[in-house]
């Protein structure tokens, strides 16, 4: 573990400057000195990732920034988030969230955003099913937005988000989407190199996220200690109306970075998948997925996702070109350790380029880039890209769940909205997806249920 930097850096191949620090200092602000240049932040959705995003936000060091409001549907989440952030050695002093600015309930997002002024930032980090609801209000309030990925989980809300976003663009709101790999300096350089032809024509890409059980993808039955709605939200990766399931939540980064390197969105998808180990679980996910995407030029993107313990694990993306290959990301999201090779088997002696290590952390960079754009008032909107990545991912999931070939054109016209009433939920009320009298939920039935991903009452 002990690093001897000089010796290690000496061994690295050259490239762009490596910033070892995680605290990326951006340019200082151009805001008029006469104004209060403090950026206020509200966090809607106090889970682990939302809290992490707030920490990344408060760590941006280019002017005053503070957290002023928290919203969630679970009291415990609000408590633990507040404790974690206010007690944090580096950012604790930037947390100012008294009791009266901690909001509980399905309408808490409104109160939290009401605590901000136009030009402040709201973090949308609830399960993605709620994203369009919260984004609608943020636009109305004239707020800048950081929204976690995925940003949509079905076709109708994808179309809705694109329409909504036009209003945000008109208002010049700065909107970031948590596909942080897009901010990775190594992948950026790799993209430039691929686009300039260093591996020739990109004919095939491969992406893997094969791991053991992941997050709340496998959901045990509700033991009766909470309502079905609460049980589903606690285990949101298990229910398509909330999260788009394991495909949307876990595979989107690798799918997105692969499409980025191809510089195109695929036109269609076919997929296989199934579930071998149910183990009494009641979620709607398969435990393995293999998706084949096809681009307009016939190039393929193969994606393998698995949440089965004890099997081969891989978490990486690769590109194959007519003149060489690229490792887009090596393991997990960071460090990417992007590399280029002149052969197809990526042998060490055929490596022509590697992004120097250590590389800066994209979770910090995505925030530095957003806050920079806000302070310098530059146009900044990642929503269309985020929606397309979400839709393409959902298209692959739908191909697996229905057993059909799905084209992107067809997908975007699809009418199955998983939770049309999601903006009307109430504490203690019913879920848009209720279990049967044995506590079971509808699961995909490829080949039998083909026009939608599962049968529900709607």
């Amino acid at each position: 573990m002990t690093q001897t930097p000089s010796r290690r850096q000496f061994l690295q191949t050259t490239g762009r400057v490596a910033a070892a620090t995680t605290l990326v200092s951006a340019a200082t602000s151009n805001v008029h000195a006469a104004q209060d240049s403090t950026i206020r932040i509200a966090l809607v959705g106090c889970g682990g990732r939302g809290t992490g995003a707030a920490l990344n936000a408060l760590s941006v060091d280019n002017g005053p920034i503070e957290l002023v409001a928290l919203a969630d549907v679970f009291e415990n989440n609000i408590k633990s988030t507040h404790a974690a952030l206010s007690g944090h050695a580096k950012v604790g002093s930037k947390v100012d969230v008294p009791d009266e600015r901690r909001f509980l309930g399905f309408d808490a997002y409104r109160q939290a955003m009401d605590a901000l002024r136009p030009g402040d930032v709201v973090i949308l980090a609830t399960p993605p099913g709620f994203r369009w609801v919260h984004y609608t209000y943020a636009i109305e309030k004239g707020l800048n937005v950081f929204m976690e990925k995925p940003v949509t989980i079905d076709a109708p809300t994808s179309v809705r988000m694109l329409e909504l976003n036009n209003r945000a663009i008109e208002k010049n709101l700065k909107v970031a989407v948590g596909l942080m790999c897009r901010h990775c300096r190594g992948r950026m350089e790799l993209f430039d190199r691929i686009q300039s032809g260093e591996i020739g024509e990109v004919n095939m890409l491969r992406a893997y996220r094969m791991a053991g059980r992941t997050a709340s993808a496998a959901v045990p039955p509700n033991d009766g200690s909470m309502s079905d709605l609460d049980h589903q939200i606690k285990n949101f990766h298990g229910f398509l109306w909330l999260s788009g399931g394991a495909v949307s939540d876990f595979l989107i980064h690798n799918i997105d970075e692969s499409c980025w390197m191809k510089n195109a969105w695929p036109e269609k998808a076919i997929a296989v998948g199934g579930r071998h180990y149910r183990d009494g679980c009641v979620d709607q996910n398969f435990d393995n997925y293999a998706i084949e995407y096809t681009f307009a030029d016939g190039a393929k993107l193969f994606v393998d996702g698995r949440t089965v313990p004890g099997c081969k694990q891989e978490f990486a993306s690769y590109a194959h070109g007519s003149k060489g290959t690229a490792i887009i990301s090596t393991a997990s999201h960071t460090p990417a350790k992007s590399r280029l090779f002149t052969d197809q088997s990526m042998s060490k002696d055929k490596m022509t380029w590697a992004f120097p290590q250590p590389e800066p952390n994209p979770y910090d960079l995505e925030w530095a880039d957003l806050i920079d754009a806000i302070r310098e008032d530059r146009p900044y909107n990642e929503v269309e890209r985020g929606v397309m990545a979400s839709a393409v991912t959902s298209m692959g999931r739908m191909a697996a769940h229905t057993g059909q070939e799905i084209t992107l054109t067809k997908f975007m016209k699809h009418d199955h909205e998983f939770a049309p009433g999601i903006d009307q939920l109430t504490m203690g009320g019913d879920s848009p997806l209720m279990p049967d009298d044995q506590g079971r939920y509808p699961v995909p039935m490829p080949g039998l249920v083909k026009k939608r991903e599962y049968m529900d009452a709607s």
Partner: protein, 335 residues
């Protein structure tokens, strides 16, 4: 697995854990503790108790101040893992693959299955914690000391034998295997290649356990491959007051720093020395995107794992509470 290891494991495979009855340390046998509902076993090597000089002499190359003054200490007899804990062994606890298999085979839970059910499990990781370097017989990595301790708690419930992490003194005693040189094979780092995986020969990755030469007491990868957790809090001045102690242990009182020993695949030769000590830090959780950060994972400690020991004399519940299992602050999952 080398042929030599295979032969070795075959010769002890016949010794099942239940027949390991040791009256005196001199009769301690190597044994293999099988993990029920899996095809795995943990191989244990007896280490007779004794006294040794802990730390390094001032004359040792690359020595650091925290390795002195050398102090004579005594350790009681114990068994220690022949190998670092592998991913397959580790995941049996973390992913409950033993229980999944039991259920798939429609086998009713035994008393022991009910017991292990009560032990904490790590929350599901957000990423492949092997970082693409391989699982199976590769050493488990990236766990916090708390996770390694909890694995031992699970292993004790699972097997009916008391397992824990080694103390720093036990670890060094076993690593030295009677030697007083910088490494258990001598003083020359040039000879490391036959005995250890480290920065210069590891090809930027860990390797399956047991591929290099073992130390004189038959323990593999004590130098290199992955640095190994011990029970102690890291205290650079600990050796000033440890002379003459029997089974010394610095019971942890703070989360950082705690100690790993033996160096790993990404370390240089000086960190692989028998006496070298390294303290953990919160930088080992740098890329964990969650807050609060997980109590189970050191997302950036790709060169940190552990092996287990089993003391010859099993401590009483009181002794465990007051010393061996004692650890502060208490680690609680945020959920």
């Amino acid at each position: 697995m080398t042929l030599k290891q295979l032969v070795l494991s075959l010769t002890i495979a016949g010794v099942s854990s239940s027949s390991v009855v040791a009256e005196k340390p001199t009769t301690m046998q190597p044994y293999s503790d099988r993990l029920e509902h899996t095809d795995l076993a943990i191989e244990m090597v007896p280490i007779p108790g004794g006294s040794f000089k802990m730390g390094s002499p001032e004359s040792e190359a690359d020595r650091k101040d925290d390795e002195g003054p050398q102090a004579e200490v005594t350790v009681s007899p114990f068994w220690i893992g022949k190998f670092e804990i592998t991913w397959d062994q580790y995941d049996t606890w973390g992913e409950q693959t033993d229980q999944l298999r039991r259920k798939m085979m429609s086998v009713d839970p035994s008393e022991r299955d009910i017991l292990v059910d009560g032990i904490s499990k790590p929350t599901e990781p957000y990423t492949d914690m092997s970082f693409g370097m391989g699982k199976g017989d590769f050493p488990a990595i990236c766990m916090t000391q708390h996770a390694a301790r909890t694995f031992c708690e699970w292993l004790s419930a699972k097997t009916g034998h008391y397992y824990r992490l080694p103390t720093e003194a036990e670890w060094e005693y076993a690593a030295r295997a009677g030697t007083t040189t910088a490494y258990s094979f001598g003083d020359d780092p040039a000879d490391l290649d036959d005995h250890a995986w480290y920065f210069d020969n590891s090809d930027d990755t860990y390797h399956e356990v047991g591929e290099k030469e073992p130390n004189p007491w038959g323990l593999y990868d004590m130098h290199g491959n992955v640095a190994e957790w011990v029970l102690d809090q890291y205290d650079p001045s600990a050796y000033q007051s440890v002379a003459g102690a029997v089974d010394p242990l610095s019971v942890p009182k703070t989360l950082y720093p705690r100690i790993v020993r033996g160096g790993g695949w990404d370390d240089d030769p000086d960190m692989l020395r028998s006496a070298a000590r390294e303290g953990s830090s919160d930088a080992w959780k740098e890329q964990d995107p969650q807050l609060p950060k997980s109590i189970w994972y050191h997302t950036d400690a790709l060169g940190v794992g552990f092996r287990v020991v089993r003391p010859f004399i099993e401590p009483t519940a009181d002794e465990r509470a007051l010393k061996w299992d004692k650890c502060e602050p208490k680690q609680v999952d945020s959920d």
